[in-house]
Each structure stands twice: as structure tokens, then as C-alpha cells.
């Protein structure tokens, strides 16, 4: 599947070629950003979770840039989140496993963002490596519904936490990180 606002697989894997700047989120207002500051500007998807295409389409229709990764949360951190948040601490949504959210949540704090919504999805059939081999009910539809809820909640500034945190290996999470009005040192000297 190809989405207009996605970047190449190798860029995702290794981070070559511009990342977030190439998506128009580097400097100045980007088409994906609405006037509403709580709008989700970027949607991260771990491709090891199946049934996420619908959520990706929904995110793209809503104006969010979709970035996919497989397994290593360091790739979207290097390519998307840090460059984006260095410029502006905008809300970001994701459909990932708990380990990735653990990282992003802590790294987001450095830019004054926190987790405003987190919801656990049903066990999913897992693709790729690194997340087990269980075959249960896929997350079709649930991901879309969860993302819709996440973006709506982000837009209305509500906070809702439905999951107890990291859960079973085959249980994905959908989440939103958004400005928490917490001051914290961050890059300001031109890097």
C-alpha cells in the first residue's frame, strides 16, 4: 500500500534522505497541520501489527502524515519525532506495541509532551519478527476505531487512559502524545 504522504522504506529503515523535512514538516507551516493545535500531525504505525491500513487511510484523510516502522522505535524517533518536536511540539498519534510507547513517552517529555490518550487493542496476528508468533484475532477495524477516538480526543483536549500500560506481546496500543504544558529544556541553540 502506498500513501501519498509516506516516505520510502529505506528512509524509514536507516533514516537517509531528509525524513520529516521531506514531508513538509521541517520548517514553516505544513499542509498537514490544521489551525487546531491539538490536531494529530503525524501517525506512527508499527507494521508488525496487521489491520492497520484502514487506520492509516483514516489518518491520511484527516491530514496526518503516516510513517511506518517495523520493530525498532529508534527509527521513527531519529527520522520523524525528534526533528518534528525540535521544531514544534505537535501532537503525534501511534499504533504500536507498548515498548515503543514507553520510549516515545519518555523522549516526548523532553519536549514538553505527554501521553494524553492510550488504549489497548485486542490481540493481533503479528507480522514480521520480534513480537512473537501467536495467531489470534486480528485488529482489523479496531485500529481505525481507536485512531478515530484518539484523534477526536486530541482535538477536544480530553485525556483518557484506558490501558494499564505495557501489556501482552500481541496486544497493540493506540495512543496520542501531545503538549502537556510542562516546561523542559530542549534544543534552542540552532541544532
Amino acid at each position: 500500500m502506498t500513501l501519498g504522504s509516506e516516505i520510502s522504506r529505506r528512509q524509514i529503515l536507516l533514516g537517509g534522505g531528509g525524513g520529516i523535512a521531506a514531508l513538509g514538516l521541517g520548517l514553516g507551516p505544513a499542509p498537514a497541520l490544521s489551525a487546531n493545535r491539538t490536531d494529530v500531525s503525524l501517525f506512527l504505525i508499527d507494521t508488525a501489527i496487521p489491520g492497520t491500513d484502514e487506520a492509516a487511510r483514516l489518518a491520511a484523510r484527516k491530514g496526518a502524515v503516516v510513517a511506518r516502522f517495523t520493530g525498532d522505535p529508534g527509527v521513527p524517533w531519529l527520522e520523524h519525532l525528534e526533528p518534528l518536536w525540535r521544531h514544534r511540539p505537535l501532537p503525534v498519534a501511534g499504533l504500536t506495541f507498548g515498548g515503543a510507547l514507553f520510549c516515545f513517552e519518555r523522549l516526548a517529555r523532553g519536549f514538553g509532551l505527554s501521553c494524553g490518550f492510550r488504549s489497548s487493542l485486542p490481540p493481533a496476528r503479528l507480522a514480521g519478527s520480534g513480537h512473537g508468533k501467536e495467531h489470534r484475532q486480528p485488529a482489523f477495524g479496531m485500529a481505525e476505531a481507536a485512531f478515530r477516538a484518539a484523534t477526536d480526543l486530541a482535538a477536544y483536549g480530553q485525556t483518557r487512559m484506558t490501558a494499564a500500560g505495557i501489556d501482552a506481546p500481541d496486544r497493540p496500543l493506540t495512543w496520542v502524545l501531545r503538549p502537556a504544558h510542562v516546561r523542559r529544556p530542549r534544543t534552542d541553540n540552532g541544532r
Binding site: G71, D72, G74, W77, C103, R106, L107, I166
Partner: protein, 544 residues
Amino acid sequence: MLPPGCTQEMFGQAIDAFEQTVGPEWVFTSGRDLDLYRDAYSPFWGEPEERFASAAVAPADVEQVQAVVRIANETSLPVYPISTGKNLGYGGSAPSLSGSAVLDLIRMNRVLDIDEENASVLVEPGVSYFDLYRELRDAGAKLWIDCPDPGWGSPIGNALDRGGGYTRPQFRNHFDAHCGMEVVLPNGELLRTGMGALPAAETWQQYKAGFGPWIDGMFSQSNFGVVTKMGFWMMPEPEACLIGRVYANRYEDLSALVRIVTHLENTGIVNGMPGFGSPLLQRRVPADPQASDPNDASAPDQALQDAFYSRDAAARGLIADRVRSTGRSCWSALVKFYGPERMVRLQWELSKEQFSEIAGVEFGEPEFYSFPLSDAELERVHKPTFGIPSLSVFNFGIRTEARPDLLEGHQAFSPVIPRTGEAIFEVNRVFREIFQDEGLPVPPFGLPGCVWERALMMIFVFPTTRDPEINQKYRRAFHRLIPAAAERGWGEYRTPVAYYDAVMDTYSFADHALRRFHETVKDALDPNGIISPGRYGIWPERYR
């Protein structure tokens, strides 16, 4: 909560002065702001002993660091320097003395120099491994970073804590890989070490020692100053990497396996980080790109586990039977080679010759990599082995059938032990006894890390939770392990804040001469005791 000797009035004076120095937007005192500096993995979580900061101050440059240190002296408010504060499992960004102000260096995040020809860099403390990777890539420099796993910390912070990585020995020992540092001393004076002390020198990142005593080590795992710049030697991208696998089938083969790997490393034939595993126990070699997901490990075969600990004839018989019935080898070793293709293939052949002294030894098909890695390789390899920072380690720790309790955080007991098979058996036996005695689940038979040359390091990972009762149990076990290990000559190479004093107590030769030396230096350099009191068990006179 303020530290002893610092009144509310003095604290107020310090905050005012900090704000005048760095700007009010870079001084933090609200509970919500300070929560960011809490140690997410604290073994004291929610208990009175948990360490908290009273404030945080984030300078933008060296001059501001000097000014902050002088203010700390004038107001008796200790400061606790952090770089990126991601040292989870060993304290995070929480100070070693509650009430200290965190000196957050994250704004000092410039890569000051990249010298591709000389394969070195000069960085500030707020530069993370990801930042450095991005800068090297943008500069087109064919230099590899030796990064820890995860790679969200900083080269300076990790080197000063004496962390390790995964590539060649001279780079994976992160402190050894440094060349030259700049330090703000506790009185606010600025010091440069090595060739940095020679004002006109262009060799600060080329020759480590300079002239006179080489003092750099005094600023690692210490509280003698605030390091504001460090140079590092980097690994030039090799032409190729070859990863070889060795399998030994008998329980008693471990000693020979360890001995041969050590010899191959010491003679420079193996020049990447080796590792040991046990296919029979489903204990993978760390950083093995072909390893199965650790979260997939099935429930342990208790009889087999017991046999690995007991070492008697019956146990050996059971292990031999299981090797035959499962087709899995008892032990495995993984050896890595970096260099030109012709050379790494030859190194593998030479290594196989030496391993062949083990009866029945088998070799796996080697993996060969050239660079840049393909997309498929990038998806499956252990990235730090190839100089690429990663966060994939955080996929470990989730709840599984074999590990029903959620791993919310961890603390690592990590003693240095001799490089022998005997030491591996003995350390497992001793620790098992203590865990059983404490009524805790016995961890699976452990195999060591080979980060350091010449020695092995066991890493026993304990959970930290949000339940004080559980945390207390593990702390009690930890406090028993420290002296039990020390009695046998095994010492922690690094430890969480909660155990600094207990570990320092064990380095007790000649009536604690080493600690008394540390204290003498501390009192001379920092008479007011304002830099990180208690860090690594070094307390200034006013707190002793």
C-alpha cells in the same frame, strides 16, 4: 525537601541567581516539571528513600555552567549534573542526594568537530547517540559509533558511567575510547585534559595523555567536576563484517570455549564483541542477529535448569540426554570479525582451527555483511553491532507466558568475574542459593557479557515495580548479593544509586584506602561538597 545545610532562604537565593544566569525559562521548581527527573526505574519508587530533585537548571554553555557551580558554592545547594538523563536501571536523572538541583546539560548539544581522516569527534554532553549518528550521516562521514543498547543516552554520559557497546574492543569500552575532556571544577574553574591543556595544540583528540599524571579517569564514576566536552575516537566503517557461530555439545566444554575465545581476542584474531549462549537452555547470545525473540522463550525446563546448576554426574547425564533428544547444543559461542573481506574470512578459518580442539565442535554457516546494509538486513540485524543506534531493546520486557509479571523497570546486578568457565558456574551457583534463600524466583542459568577485554561481566536483571513490597524483596536480595560476590572477588562495575555505598564498601583493600583517597580528593577539590554528593559512594566531608 532540601539537603542538609541548605536553608529555604539559601535555596531561594540559589534559584534567583540561577534565573539571572540562565534565564527564568531554564530554571524549574514545580512538582510537575521536576517529575520529569524522577527515576522511572527507581527501586525505591514511592518509598521515603526515593531520590527527588528540588530544582533543575539548564545552562546553555560552559560559562553558564561555571556560574551555576559558583552559585551552588555560595548557597550550599548541591547540583547533580546529567547529560540526557536516560541511564535507566542505574539511576536515570534523579540525584544521588535528595534535594539537590539537577544540572541538566541537554541544551549543550553541539557536535563540535568531526574529523573523518583521524576518525574522531568532539561533542558536548547533551548530544545523544542518535544526534551524533544524524550528524555523521549528514556530513557523509564513514565513521561508526559504538553505541549502547538502547542508544538514547549520550556518548559523554555513558562514557563517564563507564558503559559499553558492541564493536571492536577499543571502541566498545566507551571510556577508553575517549580522547581529551573539558571539565568545570567545583570552584568554577575550567580544566582541559591531555593535549587540551596545551593552548595551541591541534592534537586534543589525537593523543590522550598530554604531560604529567593522566587524570581523566578521576572524572568517570565520580563527582569531581562537570564534564562539558569530550573527544572520542570513532570506528572507521569496515569493508566487511563476518559473524561465526560455534557449537559445543558437552556440559564440560564451556571452559574450553571461554579459553579459546579469550585467546582469539587477546591475539586480535577475533576483533568484534564475542558472546556465549546455550541453545539447550534457549539462552541466546547477546546481540545475535539470528537470535529468536527473547519474549518468545518458552517456560524453562526445571529439571534441565537444575542440572546446569548441580554439576554432578547425574546432572551431566541428563544434559547429555537432552542434547541428544533435542538436537540442541549445550553451548554456543558467537565471534565477530571486522575488516576487509579477505581478512575476515581468513580470521574465521583461523578461529575454526583453534575451536577444533573441542571434541565434536560444530560450526554454523557464517553471516557475511558488506556495507551499506540492505533493507532486509537492517530489519533483522542488531543495529549497534553495525554502529547504528536503536531502541528495539524496549520490545523486551513485556508480559509473556514464561514471565507473567510485567517488567515495569529493572535494576542490574553486574559483577565483573574472571574469564573462565569455572567462574561462570560458580557465580550462578552462589546467586541461585541467595535467590532461593530469599524466596525469589531463581533466574535462568546466566551467561556472561564479553563487553570488556580480559574479564567477563554477569548481568542479572531484577525487576523494579510500583509495589514497595516486591521492591523491598529484591533490594534485600541485591544487598545480600553484593557482599556475597565480593567475598569471592567479584565486584560490581556499576550499580544503581540505591547501592552506591554498599558497593563502595566492598572495595575495601587496606582499610578502604581507595574510598579514603576518593574522599581526600573530593574534599580538596570540592570543600563545600556541591557536586553530586554521594555519587558512586563518594561523600564530601559535610555529609560523611
